[in-house]
């Protein structure tokens, strides 16, 4: 029987539960495409890569799109600072991820799946290739999968080369096609015009990994977990100032306070939810819920305790965006540099509040006018940290330096 080597014991209701490799694929063949889409819709599964688009809708649009050749792409670029849950899925639960891809291929009518693996994860390439080979041996990949006439599907892994923006789905497709990873204008969306101009589903690793259990246990079962708008569970990558950092599978709707208890965080001052492009939540708001409808996140939770300098945290994030902006559009290319300069002015006590307010206006322009999510969301940290840690940054000791 196909098994995964060295799966450590983890606890969770959906992803980190027992799963028999290949069983999701078998179930999809028994059910047929329409029923797969039906269960997916019942589950109300939303994309785990950040944008939170309905997975059933995305698959349906691609299945319905005209074109002989279709693709399913697994987005394993995982570049958002503080995110490492896809790494855990790929190394410990490749059966869930790849079975999810095969089911997607079956459902939308794709013969080929591509995994876009970030260059930093090249160390896991060999073991992933080995796993795919074993799937071929068990006829879970290849021709007439599980004896189903005409069900042909295979998976190829492609490596990224150290560019955060390539996680954006259209940049990822550009990169797969051999170009600079510059985001495209949307529409057209990948569901119609994706890889090589063909209809393409791009899904996050965790989204795909959620599919097999939905088919086996049912969409309604999945939707029982979490909240009304955020069904199921979520993998949270938790790092920073706490005793037990790591990847946790928790139900959507859990509060920040509850999470902090689980990981044994003490003297917490701030929690950055959603990575550098997410927002920074101060202590007084730790009762907020982690969910698409409240504090949304692709899974990155970074914890900062009382000893941390929040201006320094913000500077680190802005340096990241200045480096990772692809430079294609002006609001993002110039805007991020201006925001970083502003932070340095605060650091050196050379700012005026008038100028800081102008930068906040610039943030709004960036959110509206940037071409892709990078420039649209990079102002989030700037705005939330300057607002929520105003006192620390502007009032302590009469300058921006925090003596904590």
């Amino acid at each position: 029987m196909l098994t995964v080597e060295n799966r450590p014991k983890r606890d969770g209701i959906i992803l980190f539960s027992d799963y028999k490799a290949g069983s999701g694929i078998r179930r999809s063949v028994e059910m047929g495409r329409e029923n797969v889409l039906f269960e997916l819709r019942e589950s109300k599964l939303k994309g785990r890569g950040g944008a939170g688009f309905s997975t059933a809708t995305k698959w349906m649009l691609t299945a319905a799109a005209s074109g002989e050749i279709k693709y399913i792409v697994c987005n394993a670029d995982e570049g958002e600072p503080g995110t490492f849950k896809d790494k855990v899925l790929l190394t410990e639960y490749p059966d869930l991820v790849f079975d999810g891809m095969v089911v997607a291929g079956f459902t939308i009518g794709a013969k080929k799946g591509l995994v876009y693996l970030r260059g930093e994860y090249v160390y896991m390439l060999k073991s992933l290739e080995r796993y795919l080979d074993r799937m071929r041996t068990y006829n879970l990949l290849g021709k007439n999968i599980l004896g189903k006439e005409g069900f042909d599907f295979d998976i190829e892994i492609r490596l990224g080369a150290g560019a955060y923006v390539c996680g954006e789905e259209t940049a990822l497709i550009e990169s797969l096609e051999g170009h600079r990873g510059e985001p495209r204008n949307r529409p057209p969306y990948p569901v119609n015009t994706g890889y090589m101009g063909c209809p393409t589903v791009v899904n996050n690793v965790e989204t795909l990994a959620s599919v097999p259990n939905i088919l086996i246990k049912g969409g309604a079962w999945f939707a029982k977990h979490g909240t009304d708008k955020s069904t199921g569970s979520k993998l949270f990558s938790i790092s920073g100032d706490c005793k037990k950092p790591g990847v946790y599978e928790l139900p959507w709707g859990i509060t920040i306070d509850e999470v902090l208890k689980i990981v044994e965080a003490e003297n917490t001052k701030a929690v950055q939810v959603g990575g550098a492009s997410g927002s920074c939540i101060p202590k007084k708001c730790f009762d907020r819920k982690l969910a698409y409808e409240d504090a949304a996140t692709g899974g990155s939770i970074m914890i900062f305790n009382e000893s941390r300098n929040m201006l320094n945290v913000l500077k680190n994030f802005m340096e990241f965006f200045v480096e990772e902006s692809c430079g294609q559009c002006t609001p993002c290319r110039v805007g991020n540099v201006k925001l970083l300069e502003g932070i340095e002015m605060i650091e050196n006590n050379e700012y005026t509040f008038r100028y800081i307010n102008q930068l906040k206006d610039l943030c709004k322009t960036m959110q509206l006018a940037s071409k892709c999510g990078l420039g649209q969301s990079s102002p989030n940290s700037f705005l939330s940290i300057l607002e929520n840690f105003k006192e620390e940054i502007f009032f302590k000791n009469g300058n921006g330096v925090y003596h904590g």
Binding site: T83, V122, A163, L176, S239, G240, D241, P245
Partner: protein, 157 residues
């Protein structure tokens, strides 16, 4: 470069194109293979790749210059990439950085004279719960402290 070496490189690129297919979409895998073997993608390699894939050499250069892990200029045989994102910074990256610089004798952003090491910073490696983290060539090392980082470097050939 000697003529012989040039011919070898051409042959290698042709083989790679055969393996990955003669299309534009093979550009990245070909560049990655050359990068791994030679630590950079030379002018000559760029021209040959362009010729084989039937695209303009500037297109090849454009792609190389976009990606942090592809280089047109020679680098050290071993590329050390230390994570500078916030969780690793909070976990003690600065001390590790200073220790590595002392031990290797060059600063981050530089290559040693014997071309053994290039030191670089990188963004989050996805090891934030185990920082400070660094990548040397294709391997990732976690939970570094100054001594451990230098010990690891001393084992690299």
């Amino acid at each position: 470069m000697l003529i012989l070496e040039k011919n070898m490189l051409t042959e290698e690129i042709e083989k790679l194109a055969e393996q990955y297919g003669n299309s534009r979409a093979s550009l990245m895998p070909i560049l990655q293979a050359i990068q791994i073997k030679y630590n950079h993608i030379s002018d000559h390699a760029q021209q040959e790749i362009a010729r084989v894939l039937d695209i303009h050499p500037v297109e090849v250069y454009g792609v190389i210059s976009f990606y942090a892990f592809l280089h047109a200029e020679p680098r050290g045989r071993n590329i050390v990439r230390l994570c500078k994102t916030i969780c690793c910074e909070h976990a003690g990256k600065d001390l590790v950085e200073k220790a590595i610089e002392r031990e290797i004798g060059v600063k981050f952003g530089e290559t040693t004279k014997d071309e053994k090491f290039t030191l670089e910073f990188t963004s989050c490696l996805g090891m934030c719960d185990q920082g400070p983290a660094m990548m040397i060539n294709n391997e990732i090392y976690t939970k570094l402290d100054p001594e451990k980082a230098c010990e690891i470097l001393s084992t690299i050939k």
